[in-house]
């Protein structure tokens, strides 16, 4: 069975990756944003973290797929989309809640302030 793997940016929301993320019991924030009409600035901290995890997962999953299917433009296009969204939301999150990596510049050393992921503080 030959599937069309050409990029089709307009229909990008319809393809499987979002279903995959929903299957992880992580709500797709995109859908919520579109349906309730609120914007990203109004997301709570927990919602932002959930979204970051969803996007990180999508980016990793697509990267592994692209490693063995480098010519798949549909997957490449999705990887670009989610990578950009991930960067935007990580920048926003870190500005308010402190660094997610030690590469984020701070005026004061905020790396120590938040609980570590294994302590359940960062759900």
């Amino acid at each position: 069975m030959e599937e069309d793997r050409k990029c089709n940016c307009e229909n990008i929301e319809n393809i499987n990756m979002m279903n995959l993320i929903d299957n992880m019991n992580m709500v797709s924030m995109n859908n919520n944003i579109n349906s309730c009409g609120c914007n990203k600035n109004e997301m709570t901290r927990a919602e932002m973290l959930k979204k970051i995890k969803c996007l990180k997962f999508a980016v990793v999953e697509l990267a592994l797929y692209l490693d063995t299917h480098p010519d798949d433009t549909k997957a490449l296009c999705l990887h670009n989309k989610y990578s950009k969204e991930l960067k935007e939301i990580c920048d926003k999150y870190q500005k308010v809640y402190g660094p997610l990596t030690i590469e984020y510049p701070c005026n004061k050393w905020r790396w120590l302030e938040e609980p570590w992921p294994w302590e359940g503080g960062n759900k």
Binding site: M24, N25, K56, E61, L64, D67, T68, I102, W118, K123
Partner: protein, 201 residues
């Protein structure tokens, strides 16, 4: 190099202490088919791979396995951090407690400390990738046994199911990388007959 990300790949939020489950789940931390063995296996094998696809997939899956190691460590930590001495004894963890307290130390469910003998780097890309395929299946089978043992604890089941699913995806990607190498080896080679300069096309 690597940069630490201050998030778990998938959430681990366990409300109840249960050292009995920690005692078996720790096998995916430091056991024969655990995440530490997986990560070291792939990150060591990547240096000798003949093509870009195999190098990339070993590098990227080896990296994801480190995130899984952190998740399994988090599960074990959250299941034991508030355990009483009685609970630890009842779970059969008195010997573990003697040597490690409630630190997370890489051992198998049977208490055998982690050893590099669990992994292989054979100096042969076909042998290595076949080993990786088997490793993913063994890890999947281990997670299924853990899912049976943890059936009554939804907080533990949820991340275990996620981890099991990842083994299946990794198996798929390793299969594709192996097929690429085998296809390349199977292509016909043509040699130009030039006495002074034998060229491979």
């Amino acid at each position: 190099m690597w940069t630490y990300n201050k998030v778990l790949q998938y959430p681990v939020n366990i409300k109840c202490t249960d050292p009995r489950l920690a005692k078996v789940i720790i096998s995916q931390y430091g056991g024969p088919d655990g995440e530490l063995a997986a990560s070291l296996r792939y990150l060591s094998q990547r240096f000798g791979m003949p093509d870009q696809i195999a190098k990339a997939i070993l590098n990227d899956i080896g990296t994801e396995e480190l995130a899984h190691l952190e998740m399994v460590g988090s599960i074990v930590h959250q299941l034991t951090k508030n355990a009483t001495i009685e609970e630890l004894e009842k779970a059969g963890l008195a010997p573990y407690y003697t040597d490690h307290g409630v630190d997370v130390y890489p051992v198998s469910a049977g208490g055998v400390p982690f050893t590099a003998a669990y992994i292989a780097a054979k100096g042969d890309p076909i042998a290595n990738l076949q080993e990786d395929l088997a490793a993913e299946q063994k890890a999947r089978a281990t997670y299924e046994k853990l899912i049976d043992l943890c059936r009554d604890n939804p907080d533990v089941l949820d991340p275990l199911k996620f981890l099991r699913q990842r083994e299946i995806v990794h198996f798929q990607r390793f299969g594709e990388a192996l097929r690429g190498i085998q296809d390349r080896l199977a292509t016909k080679k043509m040699y130009m007959n030039d006495i002074n300069n034998v060229t491979t096309l």
